[in-house]
């Protein structure tokens, strides 16, 4: 039955170049297959992503065009400072994001284990996974940076080579922090496997604190001076710390500014040569770092992988926390299964560092921003509008969490149907438990954040109450959308929550959530704005006016929208989940 092995099928070592060629072919095959499948099965999603990206790019371009026109008219030299501050911040973020991505790609994925058992060089594996991490960590930078730099070029009437050089400059720049992130990641895993998480957390924490501190130092000043010329001057002098000549961000900023410059007689040759020199500095440093990265990989990759395999996950044997116990025992016996399901989700959330850390980071940063809005002085109408904008931001951040973490919950539960299916639990209770978990989990931080924002803005109590009601409406609606669509369109084959969230159902949930937030904020903000406008023009008399009625009607409309967003998807989801056959 089995033919004897062919004598010429003897394995032989291949060159480093051949290994790279094989990985390149692998990448091409995977990309071809993925894109082909997307075009066959997810045209709507692809079109939506392209459309939203174009919209995002266009909006950013418009925004930056206005900003550069304004700044250019004030202080032309300010641009260099802004570029340096922006690119140096991104540089720090790229080191961490690439390091984290490479940690997963080089060590923890099944592919990493497969590659470690093949006769392939560690440095080639590093290069292969680096390219992946480089792409994932740089596309956001390119999407954000390219409209900014294009707008800058347009405002400064830059010669055409500037526009051609934008992408090479950005790519060469990103490669430097990305490689550094990879080197740090490999060193941490190989030499400090037990400390790596703590070290990473400490490093991320320190970087965040440093960046916040820098921003605080740069922007903080007495209320009266805010946005004045003196305030700008003071802020910029503090930001000059980012203009260190040894930083790649300075090479990038200087190169781009040179590329966009013209001499007084209109010639560009000298400036272009200077720009190309800066590009050469970036490229050569990126290449040297790549060589260092490959050497580090050759020495440390397999060692690190072995160190990581050696670790035994901590086996926690803690007793049920008092809160879990209280929750599971409170209420009637009939509601106990529902409460137990919520306790289970709560425990999973607490033990999943990726969930609560993102929750803490995003809401923490939002809290910091709200805490600092008091730096500026506002008129009543302006403060009210900023309050609504802040409400929308809270809603948008919550919607990313409900889409990323709540939407996949039903799909993941579907995979565990053999457990839940055998328990005396009603299927409806599973769906309701997710809704209550999401609603209660969202309402506390969101309402606190909105209260903080409004207090710092000095908003009147009735408007704070209105914002809080809107916040409750948003929390209920966003939870209903995520849980309802999650139950209506579950993906039972996928095990990764992030992949479930990035599927069609997740995209739809995010789009509907965004539209819902916009609708709720608009129907309440517009009447409030009209009321303030009426007051300013002296139309409003004491007592119940037409403008007040408008505000009340707006609030009623928001509540109706909230009820629709909560119950419509939930009813559809409950129906579908009752019929679900895993």
């Amino acid at each position: 039955m089995m033919p004897p092995p062919a004598p010429d099928a003897v394995p032989r070592p291949i060159s480093s170049g051949a290994e790279s060629g094989i990985f390149l072919r692998l990448r091409w095959l995977i990309a071809r297959s993925t894109v082909g499948e997307m075009l066959r099965t997810s045209r709507l999603r692809v079109s939506l992503v392209i459309l939203l990206s174009a919209l995002f790019w266009g909006s950013l371009f418009g925004l930056f065009h206005e900003a550069f026109t304004f700044v250019d008219s004030l202080h032309a030299e300010v641009i260099s400072l802004l570029f340096n501050a922006f690119f140096s911040s991104l540089m720090v973020m790229l080191v961490f994001s690439t390091g984290i991505l490479l940690y997963s790609g080089l060590y923890t994925t099944p592919e990493a284990r497969l590659l470690l058992t093949l006769p392939v060089r560690s440095e080639t594996i590093f290069a292969h996974k680096f390219q992946e991490a480089f792409w994932f960590s740089s596309w956001g930078f390119i999407l954000l940076g390219s409209p900014m730099l294009t707008a800058y070029g347009v405002v400064r009437h830059a010669p055409w080579p500037f526009f051609v050089l934008i992408i090479p400059f950005m790519v060469a720049f990103v490669a430097i922090p990305a490689t550094l992130g990879g080197i740090v990641c490999m060193a941490l895993v190989a030499w400090m496997p037990r400390l790596r998480l703590h070290a990473l957390s400490i490093a991320v924490g320190a970087a965040l604190v440093a960046m916040i501190g820098l921003a605080w130092m740069a922007l903080a000043s007495p209320r009266a001076d805010a946005m004045s010329a003196a305030w700008f001057e003071q802020a910029f002098s503090r930001l000059s710390i980012t203009e260190q000549r040894m930083l790649p961000s300075w090479w990038l900023s200087s190169g781009l500014i040179e590329a966009a410059a013209r001499a007084k007689d209109g010639t560009v040759a000298r400036h272009q040569t200077e720009a190309l020199r800066f590009l050469a500095v970036l490229v050569s440093n990126a290449l040297i770092l790549q060589l260092v990265g490959r050497q580090v990989a050759a020495r440390l990759h397999r060692l690190g992988a072995s160190q990581l395999v050696s670790e035994i996950p901590t086996r926690r044997q803690r007793r049920m926390s008092w809160f879990d116990e209280l929750l599971s025992r409170a209420g009637t016996d009939r509601g106990r299964p529902l409460r137990l399901l919520i306790v289970k989700d709560l425990r999973i959330f607490r033990r999943d560092i990726s969930q609560w850390s993102q929750f803490v980071i995003f809401f923490g940063l939002l809290g910091l921003y709200f805490w600092n809005v008091r730096v500026f002085n506002y008129q009543h109408a302006y403060a009210a509008m900023i309050g609504f904008l802040n409400l929308a931001v809270v809603g948008l951040i919550l919607s990313t969490f409900t889409t990323r973490f709540v939407f996949p919950m039903i799909s993941l539960e579907g995979r565990r149907f053999w457990i839940l299916g055998l328990l005396p639990v009603n299927r409806d209770q599973i769906v309701w438990s997710k809704f209550i978990f999401s609603f209660v989990g969202g309402i506390v931080p969101c309402c606190l954040l909105v209260a903080l924002s409004d207090t710092m803005l000095g908003i009147e109590p009735w408007l704070i109450a209105l914002h809080e009601v809107c916040c409750v409406v948003l929390c209920a609606g966003l939870s209903g959308i995520a849980v309802g669509i999650g139950a209506r369109m579950p993906d039972l084959r996928e095990v990764s929550p992030s992949k479930i969230a990035s599927g069609f159902g997740g995209t739809l949930s995010l789009v509907i959530s965004s539209l819902f937030i916009i609708a709720v904020v608009l129907v309440t903000a517009v009447p409030v704005h009209i009321r303030f406008a009426a007051q300013e023009r002296g139309f409003a008399a004491a007592g119940w006016t037409g403008a007040d009625r408008g505000v009340a009607l707006g609030l009623a409309a928001a509540i109706v929208l909230g009820l629709l967003a909560t119950f419509l998807p939930l009813v559809l989801g409950l129906r579908a989940f009752r019929r679900l056959e895993p």
Binding site: M1, E37, E111, T117
Partner: protein, 255 residues
């Protein structure tokens, strides 16, 4: 062909493998048995280069897995308990990827791929994306990929998981034929019947130590005091003997 020399591996304070000395010659099928947590997976991970020993050396075809992993891997084929494939590659593309990684000439690779697709009856779905495969189909594809380069050593971690009876038969026939042809097989398994049917020697590992090393006949002899069928004392089943050796208060002794 495989040599563990004084291999010790610890996880923190826990000793997973303690002073393992084991040599497996060319053409032998060796089955490693033991209860969960005995150190079988750690031993296999060291044998395929995923884990470095805390002390001692592991060699495949004379190549040290730590000092020269690439040279050792050229002689190794590995079938893990959880097959890993690229979901967006077809089975055939995956086989080509593996063949290329082992530096097989194109013509030879083409022949070998066709042969393995036929051996493991993969033809029907070889051009479908791996994401559509069942566990059994995945396992068969990984088997095919591990044999493409005709390795000197084949390492199998729970090889029959997910395979249907027909596939199990194919694999058993293949293992017999390849070991006759000189391939060394190192297999970890919980299935005593399979070890009994296929293995030239078995090792029983308990708490990181080899408590028994020998043939199945030796094992039976050790249990009954005489070789089964030789008319000696009361013979016990292989399962009983295994349970005695692996029980925490059993009689286990060093090999």
């Amino acid at each position: 062909m495989i040599a563990f020399e004084g291999v010790t591996r610890s996880y923190g304070e826990k000793l997973a493998v303690a002073g393992l000395d084991l040599t497996i010659p060319r053409g032998e099928l060796f089955a490693l048995l033991g209860p969960n947590g005995a150190g079988k997976t750690t031993t296999i991970k060291m044998l395929v280069g995923l884990l470095r020993p805390s002390r001692g050396t592991v060699q495949v075809a004379g190549h040290d897995l730590v000092r020269d992993p690439r040279a050792a891997h050229l002689h190794l084929g590995y079938v893990p308990d959880e097959p890993c494939l690229y979901e967006k590659l077809t089975g055939r593309e995956f086989l080509w990827f593996i063949a290329d990684m082992f530096g097989m000439p194109k013509a030879a690779a083409e022949k070998r791929i066709a042969a393995e697709i036929s051996n493991f009856e993969l033809g029907e779905f070889a051009d479908d994306l791996a994401e559509s495969y069942s566990l059994g189909m995945r396992q068969r594809l990984v088997f095919a990929s591990s044999l493409l380069h005709d390795p000197d050593v084949l390492v199998l971690d729970e090889p029959m998981v997910g395979l249907d009876p027909r596939s199990v038969r194919i694999v058993k026939d293949l293992l017999r034929e390849r070991t006759r042809g000189g391939m060394t097989v190192f297999m970890s398994t919980h299935t005593l019947a399979m070890a009994e049917e296929l293995a030239d020697r078995v090792g029983i590992m308990v708490r990181g130590r080899l408590q028994f090393l020998g043939t199945v006949v030796d094992l039976r002899a050790r249990g009954s005091g005489s070789v089964e069928g030789a008319g000696g004392g009361e013979s016990r089943s292989l399962e009983q003997l295994y349970l005695e050796i692996t029980s925490t208060d059993g009689p286990g002794s060093s090999p």
